[in-house]
């Protein structure tokens, strides 16, 4: 029972990161109908920026801030310099371009930083605290929950309560009408990319130290898990991304705890296949709205 509790809490902590990463995928999907397959590589690039800044300044937090900033900037640059130039009439085009970006970013990172694992620090201890003899959460787990919670709440606030959020939603739902109402649709799309990439960078910063460390491919499996989480929740649904992320985190924690860590990639792919076969729209797929 203690082990089950531990695995559950550990899975939720891991799931919180998947949720954040899935949320980033959902943000871009909603803004531009693109699944950003380059998001993992972009997040790793931001984590390398953090590594460099921390190496120079000695401060984890300066590196953390630099990673978020780098994530935001990289997202904007990818939209303006790459995605906007892609012909979107075929949905396959942006996918192929995103996959090309993955290769490009990983190659550049490998050239600059090398292809060995670099150590990635955590700002808090990862040793689980014990309550009444039972190992529960580590201080770092609590930090992960708090960070993802704050970012999630901030995104909800921005999108539902602010003028810029209203513009972003309108631009995503009805670009042409939005332009007639004075909304800078291209700018909103770039902002959406920046926000999503920033959230992706945050997820990368949180998850990389809990895996093998910093490496150009460090987010590959995380990306697959988060993509599965986003598809599980429904690519159109931010709450779905959060639920999907937590669900995938739990599943993977149980699989690795009870059946062995080697099975994690298999479990992720099996789940992805199951969702795509049984409910391709995701658990939270909205009822098709009447077009007006």
């Amino acid at each position: 029972m203690d082990r089950f509790l531990f695995l559950t809490l550990d899975g939720l902590s891991r799931g919180a990161v998947y949720a954040a990463f899935a949320l980033a995928l959902v943000l871009i999907w909603r803004a531009g109908r693109i699944v950003n397959f380059a998001q993992g590589a972009m997040a790793v690039a931001a984590a390398y920026v953090a590594y460099s800044v921390t190496a120079v300044t000695g401060s984890y937090w300066l590196g953390f801030g630099a990673a978020l900033l780098a994530g935001l900037l990289l997202g904007a640059v990818v939209d303006v310099a790459v995605m906007r130039l892609v012909d979107h009439r075929s949905p396959l085009n942006p996918v192929i371009v995103a996959l090309g970006l993955v290769l490009l970013i990983q190659a550049i990172l490998g050239m600059v930083y090398g292809n060995e694992y670099l150590p990635a620090r955590t700002p808090f201890s990862r040793t689980a605290l014990t309550v009444g003899g039972t190992a529960v959460l580590s201080p770092y787990d609590l930090f992960v929950f708090a960070t993802v919670g704050v970012v999630g709440a901030a995104l909800v606030w921005v999108f539902t309560r602010t003028a810029i959020g209203l513009r972003m939603r309108a631009a995503a739902f009805a670009p042409e009408v939005s332009r007639l109402l004075g909304v800078n649709v291209g700018g909103m799309l770039t902002l959406g990319w920046a926000l999503a990439s920033g959230v992706g960078a945050l997820a990368g910063m949180l998850v990389i130290p809990t895996e093998l460390g910093l490496h150009p491919h460090a987010m590959d499996l995380v990306f697959v898990s988060a993509f599965t989480a986003a598809v599980l929740g429904g690519l159109d649904s931010p709450p779905g991304a959060v639920v999907g992320g937590l669900g995938v985190g739990l599943l993977l924690s149980y699989v690795s705890g009870y059946a062995g860590g080697d099975l994690i990639p298999l479990a992720v792919l099996a789940l992805l296949l199951t969702v795509l076969l049984l409910r391709p729209g995701g658990l939270f797929a909205p009822v098709a709205a009447r077009r007006v």
């Binding site: 309108a170 739902f173 009805a174 009408v177 939005s178 109402l181 004075g182 009447r290 077009r291 007006v292």
Partner: protein, 239 residues
């Protein structure tokens, strides 16, 4: 003529290699209602899309207050006082009534007047006030019409471009809409250019009728003449 709010001169436009508009001239004096009428495929919607910059003219020019609109991006047009209610009304179904309306005034710097304009729209269209939190796609056709017009009006436009306001609406709602346009023209000096297939309703409220045929202006005449001159009506409108 000097003093026209909107002028198009020798305007041509089309989609890709397919030309739709040829050599279109029109003038809309301020504080008047102009109705563009004509059969399906006459180029009425294309004309509106070209006037609001969604479609780039291949020749000719568009003047607003005597100033060339060339190079003005679509999203800047509201700031120059032009509101375009597009085909199908453009209500954003995923947003609430309130959000749709707020969106119409987000560009405005005068926030207090924007809030006042929002209140006025709720007074003008009472059904909207009781449905503020409903999503756009939950509204009836008539309510959507109100929302589309209200969203244009919160921007306090000088020129309102309307694409087929009568489409899919009950005759009573069409009559209400036309009466409202007349009221806005008389009370606030609003200028309206509307595109209509419903010739009778359009001419009933318009000051000027612009008959389009095969992408050209076949006739521009005072609406009263088009209403009353049976020969003219037969020749150009077929009834």
């Amino acid at each position: 003529m000097a003093g026209d709010l909107l002028t198009a001169e020798a305007l041509a436009a089309g989609y890709g290699p397919v030309p739709v508009l040829h050599d279109v001239d029109l003038r809309v004096p301020p504080g008047t209602i102009a109705a563009v009428i004509g059969a399906n495929g006459a180029g009425k919607t294309t004309l509106l899309r070209t006037l609001s910059g969604m479609l780039r003219p291949t020749a000719g020019r568009i003047l607003l207050d005597g100033r060339d609109l060339r190079g003005t991006p679509v999203e800047q047009l509201v700031r120059r006082g032009v509101a375009h209610v597009p085909e199908g009304r453009g209500v954003i179904g995923e947003l609430t009534v309130e959000e749709n309306l707020r969106l119409g005034a987000l560009w405005r710097r005068d926030r207090s007047d924007a809030a006042r304009a929002l209140d006025e729209v709720y007074q003008l269209f009472e059904p909207l006030a009781s449905r503020r939190r409903h999503l756009g796609h939950q509204l009836s056709g008539g309510e959507r019409q109100m929302l589309a017009l209200g969203r244009a009006l919160v921007g306090r436009p000088r020129l309102l471009l309307l694409d087929e306001p009568s489409l899919g609406l009950a005759p009573r709602v069409v009559a209400q809409t036309m009466a409202l346009l007349r009221q806005l023209r008389d009370d606030t000096g609003l200028t309206v250019l509307l595109v209509e297939q419903n010739v009778r309703s359009a001419l009933a409220v318009a000051d000027q009728g612009i008959v389009m045929s095969l992408g050209r202006v076949a006739l521009a005449a005072p609406a009263a003449r088009l209403r009353d001159d049976a020969d003219l009506r037969h020749a150009y409108l077929g009834f």
